[in-house]
């Protein structure tokens, strides 16, 4: 199919889809309306379990099993990226070179690193009270560590990033979620049921298992994202084509 005919084909199909979408939108509950049967019920359930952040209550209490699936998707994606971005035959590792960073960037990065790390952990720990939680905070923690790459260089990042340890952390986070679910069963309830004391609404210890599951997810996301970024950064910084191999690769890529 030529580029031109493909575009015309798309425009025709898109017009049909657009008409169907508008027809569907007209039948949706109207914007800003008061009819939210699921929302009302889940807010009541969240307050019954003393979880101030209703979104966290939905994710880690009412739909905890779905979040296990979501966490497993992330786990599988990290695993997939590790397999896809490994060193393949015909490539070699090159030691990263030290980089020159402007002094201002270096100072700002080193200053911001502990602050960002603390904010990330705060977001994980307060997931049941204020907006945030394991997924959001985990990303902040992982990004904070990479400030060292921006502020210093790749070798500095590698020193605080023993990859094997983060791979174990990724697995431990995933396992902790399942173990929490099984612990609820051993306590005589259903898998991932909220069996811990619910505490007082709006305090750090409220929400029962939501706190534990947030911590597990936070650990998995932080470690998983560090491993994921390490794979991509290794491709950019470390892994080079072997010099003797370039001719063979040229032969393969030639049309």
């Amino acid at each position: 199919m030529t580029r031109q005919s493909r575009l015309w084909f798309f425009l025709a199909a898109a017009t049909v889809v657009a008409v169907l979408l508008v027809a569907a939108f007209l039948a949706l509950p109207h914007f800003g309306g008061g009819f939210h049967p699921y929302g009302d019920r889940s807010v009541r359930a969240a307050l019954a379990h003393r979880t101030a952040n209703a979104v966290a209550a939905v994710n880690f209490d009412q739909r905890a099993l779905d979040t296990l699936g979501e966490e497993t998707i992330l786990f599988a994606a990290v695993l997939g990226a590790v397999v896809l971005l490994r060193q393949i035959p015909g490539e070699r590792q090159e030691a990263p070179r030290p980089a020159q960073v402007p002094a201002a960037v270096r100072r700002l990065g080193v200053l911001l690193l502990p602050v960002a790390l603390l904010v990330g952990m705060y977001v994980v720990a307060h997931g049941q009270v204020t907006p945030g939680g394991g997924f959001q905070g985990g990303i902040v923690v992982a990004t904070a560590l990479h400030l060292l790459y921006v502020a210093v260089d790749y070798r500095a990042l590698e020193r605080i990033r023993p990859l094997a340890l983060y791979e174990v952390g990724d697995v431990a986070g995933e396992a902790a979620y399942i173990v929490t679910g099984i612990a609820a069963m051993l306590a005589g309830s259903a898998f991932l049921a909220n069996v811990l004391p619910w505490g007082t609404l709006g305090t750090l210890t409220s929400g029962g298992t939501v706190v534990v599951l947030n911590a597990a997810v936070g650990m998995e996301v932080a470690c998983g994202v560090v491993v994921l970024l390490a794979m991509f950064l290794d491709q950019a910084v470390r892994i080079e084509e072997s010099p003797g191999n370039s001719a063979a690769t040229q032969g393969r890529t030639g049309k």
Binding site: V17, F31, A54, L84
Partner: protein, 114 residues
């Protein structure tokens, strides 16, 4: 009633698809896929909105406050996480594709190679 938020979601969906169809670079295509997917965020949050509602977080709001729907917000979070993982995997695939075929143009990848 207003249809605008729903129409915005539909527009983002279609413009993302347009980018995918006309893309000449795989990395650009992954960006377009992310745009397409973000239409679902807009749609979900638009459905969950309640006039005058605040965030469904009771840390500093009275427990009888009028809040927007927390269920769709939780679904949006799931959506974002899945979107990020798909993007990461696709970019990893593109890196290997580029190593093997030396091109990022999807139209040049039509022939089978051993």
């Amino acid at each position: 009633m207003t249809l605008l938020p729903y129409l915005v979601a539909g527009w983002i969906f279609l413009i993302g698809l347009y980018g995918l169809v006309t893309s000449r670079n795989m990395i650009h295509a992954v960006g377009c896929l992310s745009v397409t997917q973000s239409s679902t965020y807009v749609l979900l949050l638009a459905i969950g909105y309640r006039d005058g509602g605040t965030a469904p977080v009771y840390a500093d709001a009275p427990t009888d406050a009028r809040v927007v729907d927390p269920v769709v917000q939780a679904l949006t979070l799931t959506d974002i996480v899945v979107g990020a993982t798909v993007t990461a995997l696709l970019l990893a695939l593109i890196i290997q594709l580029h190593k093997r075929h030396g091109t990022l143009d999807p139209d040049e990848l039509s022939e089978l190679k051993g």
